[in-house]
Amino acid sequence: MSILLDSTSRVLVQGITGREAALHVRYMLEYGTCVVAGVSPGKGGDEFAGIPVYDSVRSALKEHAVDVSVLFVPSRFVRDAGLEAVEAGVPLVVILAEGVPHHDAAEILARAREVGVRVLGPNSQGMISPGKAKVGGPGGDRPDLMFRPGPVGLISRSGGMGAEVSMALTKAGIGQSTYVAIGGDLLIGTEFTDLLPLFEADPETRVVFLFGEPGTGREEAAARMIRRGGFGKPIVAFIAGEFLENLPRGLHFGHTGALIEGDLGRPSRKKAVLREAAVRVADHLDEIVPLVKEALASV
């Protein structure tokens, strides 16, 4: 099993004729991902790597059933392409671009909520269910170097660091059920608390790893969910950026305008509340693999 994505998931690629897409769609296909169609306005009727290309999401959906749409679209065009997928009712929309204007993200997320569509990102690197399928970037051209099937579910606010931790696990002989890069932006569609219940229900997942960062209250919300008993499997976590707390306020890194949240968003507090929820929190990167091993041994 896995969450969100498996070898039967039918994937649509928006912006399929772009440079990044050209590269990654091939990697996705080589990995076994079921890419059924692409969208590239003005290029309807073309083919890319044997995949039919359509002018719009709706015209693609007339010919194909789709479970996931992934947007290989530059940030300034994400609003239009994201709303197109949401309005067409694609069940899961994955937004990879970094630098999407906040008001655009808010609009996509608001519409998605109204019509019942799940959004992953913006600024997600995508997701992978090792041995089954991948969407977006995880693993690049060599997914087997970083990922193998196994019992650890991963959720990361940093796409790169989630892959880094997966690679360390893989090198230690520990595989993954699904890795989901939820995105580093202030406003994102899918959070830790949305995915924990899915990992809870997935029999293959025995341990979950969370990679957190400063700002927002996402890790705090996860800790509350765990403390309420909303998650029964062991969790290991790492929170980057504690040193930022010692720098003067107002720095470029991690500012989220959280006027009234007080110390919400401080990495030290995130670590404290996660520990109170019996999460194993690594202080250093190299502690993560031993803690995951310990957690696996406990179940």
Partner: protein, 401 residues
């Protein structure tokens, strides 16, 4: 951070038809005197700097006549707020305030969209007051697809216990303010205090607008206003930060740079991609290393930017080593990054046999990257068999005293 100066923020409010106190901008005592004389009333003088905390810093003064306005302006223009020099002063009608309120529109990650915050206890320290009396701060999540309408503002007014003509006034004001928030792609629009005057009028007495860096492509004119005053949010750019900023602006499509200089550091730092930069910096500091800077760059054809930025970083005096690289890459070709770094080392005359250089790269293009690195003697090049933490340890060992 992309904070507008208050005069630019006031102009945005005025454009949306929001009634404001009368105001002008002075860049000399003579101009302030003339402005105060024209306003024919007592005035408030505020240093125009892109940072908060001006009240506490003594950068807001009061004057009851033009001569006093001139004197106070002369004093303000001679000083700094934080590290920002005061170049201009806002001259604003002084209001007879019966109640100081607070209103802001910002983004709430939990609500996945904008929220309105409103309080009848404005002034400084809204955060602390809200902590003491949690009910005093009203919060409304806003549906972006519907917007924020005057009746919703009236509901807020009623819930806050306001009565009479101020109820519709607040409704109109908040709806207009939300249009400002949307219209200029703001991250924050804050009015504090929002003055309820003795005469019963509702007037913004101080305005803060933070723009969204990620949306500046839609607001070229506002971006130009920011460029005049840009800094890191709490101080002006250092010369190195300004140079890196120029490099970044020179090609907006080749990845966006985030950069910060640490004045007392001595290890040049270029470990990239969001979480990896944060993680490696934290690791470096906890191991006793002192980073000279933070650096990150988003995905794109960024070899040339990396080259130019690395050259600028390496020119800083007093450096004792360099760590660069990142987590295992999914998208970016690491050979392009390594080539940019190695070119910069060569062109700056940096010899890794004498100046410790530790690189840690993994991802697409690693074979080519390995070849490029192999041709530079003294350079330590690590791949995925060494953890990011291992590489950080190595630079700390190599630069240890």
């Amino acid at each position: 951070m992309a904070r507008l100066l208050e005069n630019d923020s006031l102009s945005l409010l005025a454009n949306e038809g929001i009634r404001l106190p009368r105001w002008g901008v002075a860049s000399s005592a003579v101009e302030a005197e003339a402005t105060a004389a024209r306003l024919k009333c007592a005035v408030v003088l505020k240093a125009l700097v892109p940072v908060g905390g001006r009240g506490k810093a003594g950068a807001i003064r009061s004057a009851s006549n033009p001569a006093e306005a001139a004197a106070a302006t002369a004093e303000l223009l001679a000083r700094h707020v934080g590290e920002f020099p005061v170049r201009r002063v806002l001259v604003m009608e002084r209001l007879q305030i019966a109640e100081e309120q607070f209103a802001s529109f910002t983004f709430d990650p939990a609500a996945k969209g904008p929220v309105l915050l409103f309080s009848r206890s404005g002034g400084v320290e809204v955060e602390r007051q809200a902590g003491r009396a949690p009910g005093s701060l009203l919060r409304r999540a806003i549906s972006v697809t519907r917007g924020f309408r005057p009746f919703e503002g009236r509901d807020v007014a009623v819930e806050a216990g306001l009565r009479g003509s101020v109820v519709p006034a607040l409704g109109q004001l908040l709806a207009s303010l939300y249009r400002v928030f949307r219209g200029c792609d703001a991250r924050l629009v804050e009015i504090n205090p929002l003055a309820l005057t003795v005469a019963g009028e509702l007037l913004p007495a101080a305005v803060v607008i933070d723009l969204d860096d990620q949306a500046l492509f839609r607001h070229i004119e506002l971006g130009d206003k920011l460029a005049e005053e840009e800094g890191t949010g709490f101080r002006p750019f250092t010369p190195l930060e300004r140079r890196i900023h120029e490099i970044d602006r020179s090609d907006p499509h080749a990845g966006a740079i985030r950069f910060l200089e640490f004045p007392d550091g001595d290890i040049a730092f270029m470990v990239t991609s969001g979480g990896a930069a944060l993680t490696a910096l934290g690791q470096l500091i906890s191991l006793g290393g002192r980073p000279a800077n933070a650096f990150d760059i988003t995905a794109g054809q960024n070899e040339e930017k990396i080259y130019l930025a690395m050259r600028a970083i390496l020119r800083r005096p007093g450096l004792r080593g360099l760590i660069a690289g990142g987590n295992v890459k999914n998208f970016a070709r690491v050979d392009l990054q390594v080539r940019g770094i190695v070119r910069a080392l060569r062109d700056e005359g940096v010899d890794p046999r004498r100046f410790p250089v530790v690189l840690r790269f993994a991802g697409p293009g690693i074979e080519e990257a390995r070849e490029i690195a192999r041709n530079v003697s003294g350079l330590e090049f690590y791949e995925d068999e060494t953890s990011l933490e291992g590489a950080v340890r190595r630079i700390v060992e190599r630069t240890g005293r």
